[in-house]
């Protein structure tokens, strides 16, 4: 038990030993030093005049933005429909690509641990670590602006996420059921269909709804780089400083996000 002596020579209980305290103190020092250095860098590239002016600017923007321009909603129905399509079709497309990748990546179903599994894991990591906006940027410059670029961006970004969660679910399945199916003389595909699929189906449904919810959020901003959806309207309203329209779009986005989360929570609640 770590103890220290106070001035009267009594022993006092302490949470950490001396070495632990020193290490901790040093770690805190390092963190503070790193933070201060980073802060100095940020401060260098900041125009502080604008920052001191910020409350006035914020109040000014707020004053212009409110009340939202409600009539503008009539021009938003098509973008909302596009946004919904980007999220939903993107998720469906992503799942179609994620399922084979997940089966190739799970250590108990992969055909080859040495050759195939690393490739599948590589696909998962690289699609996951790049944000959907960057994918959208890339696809817009490849196939041109529009809903399709956004849809593909969302689906590529989702492959890694869905495949990762799915392959973890596959690795956690109950091996006894597989053995039972194999014992009846089932072929490899029959084992897959009757032994593995029923076990991961609830996880699969949960993952897809979860990802759909995230994709609703992400698809609302894809338009900023020209990939369709409500973000296009947001961008053009911002460009002409039409703050009441921006306010309405933000309200629509918030509603969409809340509805998406509600639906996904309901569906996941029904599955589990």
């Amino acid at each position: 038990m770590p103890v220290s002596e106070n001035s009267k020579g009594q022993k006092v209980w302490q949470l950490h030993t001396r070495n632990e305290s020193l290490i901790r103190w040093f770690a805190y020092l390092l963190t503070v030093a790193a933070f201060m250095w980073c802060w100095a860098k940020i401060s260098e590239s900041t125009t502080w005049y604008f920052v001191w002016d910020a409350p006035r600017i914020a109040a000014d923007i707020g004053g212009r933005a409110l009340p939202p321009k409600w009539e503008y909603i009539n021009e938003l129905w098509v973008p909302i429909w596009d946004t919904l399509n980007i999220a939903t079709l993107g998720t469906i497309l992503a799942l179609m690509m994620a399922v084979p990748v997940a089966f190739l990546a799970a250590s108990n179903t992969t055909p080859s641990k040495v050759f195939v599994r690393p490739v599948a894991l590589m696909i998962i990591v690289s699609t996951r670590s790049i944000n959907s906006l960057i994918w959208a940027l890339l696809l817009v410059s490849i196939i041109g602006p529009g809903v399709v670029a956004g849809l593909l961006a969302i689906s590529i970004r989702s492959i890694g996420f869905c495949a990762k969660l799915l392959y973890e679910a596959i690795e956690e399945i109950d091996q006894k059921q597989i053995e039972a199916i194999t014992a009846t003389g089932a072929s490899r595909w029959q084992v897959m269909l009757y032994g593995i699929v029923p076990q991961i189906l609830p996880a699969f449904a949960g993952i897809s709804v979860f990802r759909w919810d995230i994709n609703i959020r992400e698809s609302t901003v894809l338009g900023l780089v020209g990939a369709g959806g409500i973000g296009l309207q947001l961008q053009s309203s911002l460009n002409v400083l039409a703050w009441p329209q921006v306010a309405l779009i933000l309200v629509v986005i918030l509603v969409a996000v809340v509805v998406g989360e509600w639906v996904s929570a309901k569906v996941r609640g029904a599955i589990i």
Binding site: C38, I134, L138, I142, L250
Partner: protein, 271 residues
């Protein structure tokens, strides 16, 4: 015994049970999904000539991954990357510092109802707003540069960390907390010795995970002018300099992989 009589004796052959048991809901969902998909795909407009033109460019981009160009825009990449890292570190630290009190306030077993509602409100707001949208507003208010990105990421970190931390505190073992309380500890001592040790491992793990997320997000904030490597990446795409873009993407992927590995090691160590 012939096959026919065996079948008759066994009755109906076994069939795999359906995932959704109620046939009405099942067929309703299937038909609804088909109708929706046909409508949705019908409303897609694809400009095939533009696509075929772009496919060449797409192939160039994929080929660029074989020859990424780290050098010709080296200083831009380096500056952007340093800015991204700076934003990541500062926003994660500030985000953790702010989300600890909010997380404590959002745990129903620690905080009184009014505090709980306020903290839950902050969390809900932070989670509902997409980082990019917050960044646009922050750029409009604070001007271009990493400060806007820093504020955006800190704000996003609060929603994430405080929510998960509050859930963890609500699940903690009450026995340990009670034991500390019974020694006559003050409120701060109670939090420090009764609650903190129970949630600390998870908090460290989540912080590392958030560091990883913040880095990934900081790579896109530059698109709306909030600093970081995103601005460099955007310029590279706009000029069709795919080899530079490939280099930046490779750096992002490598950094994320390293961070993920590190956070895995650290999480194993604290748990």
């Amino acid at each position: 015994m012939s096959d026919v009589t065996l079948d008759m004796r066994l009755g109906k052959p076994w069939k795999k049970p359906h995932f959704i048991k109620n046939p009405v809901t099942r067929w309703g969902l299937i038909i609804g999904a088909l109708v929706y998909i046909s409508f949705a795909t019908g409303s897609l407009e694809v400009n095939w000539s533009r696509v075929s033109e772009g496919l060449v460019r797409g192939w160039n981009f994929i080929a660029a991954f074989a020859t990424p160009d780290f050098v010709s825009r080296g200083t831009d990449i380096r500056d952007g990357l340093i800015e991204s890292v700076i934003m990541t570190i500062t926003s994660t630290i500030v985000g953790i510092a702010i989300s600890i009190p909010i997380g404590l306030g959002a745990a129903r077993n620690i905080a009184p109802l009014p505090v709980y509602l306020v903290c839950r409100g902050i969390i809900a707001l932070s989670r509902a707003l997409n980082e990019i949208i917050v960044a646009i507003l922050m750029v409009a208010i604070f001007g271009f540069g990493p400060l806007a990105g820093f504020i955006t990421l800190s704000f996003a970190t609060i929603g994430f960390l405080a929510k998960l931390m509050a859930e963890d505190i609500e699940d903690m073992s009450r026995v340990q907390a009670e034991a500390i309380k019974s020694t006559g500890a003050t409120w701060t001592q109670w939090i420090n010795y009764g609650v903190q040790p129970q949630v600390m491992p998870r908090l460290v793990g989540l912080s590392m995970y958030r560091l990883d997320i913040n880095f990934r997000e900081s790579a896109v904030l530059g698109l709306v002018g909030a600093g970081g490597i995103g601005a460099t990446l955007n310029t590279a795409f706009d000029r069709y300099e795919f080899d530079t873009a490939a280099a930046i993407l490779l750096i992002i992927i490598a950094t994320v992989m390293v961070l993920e590995y590190l956070s895995g090691v650290i999480r194993k160590k604290v748990q």
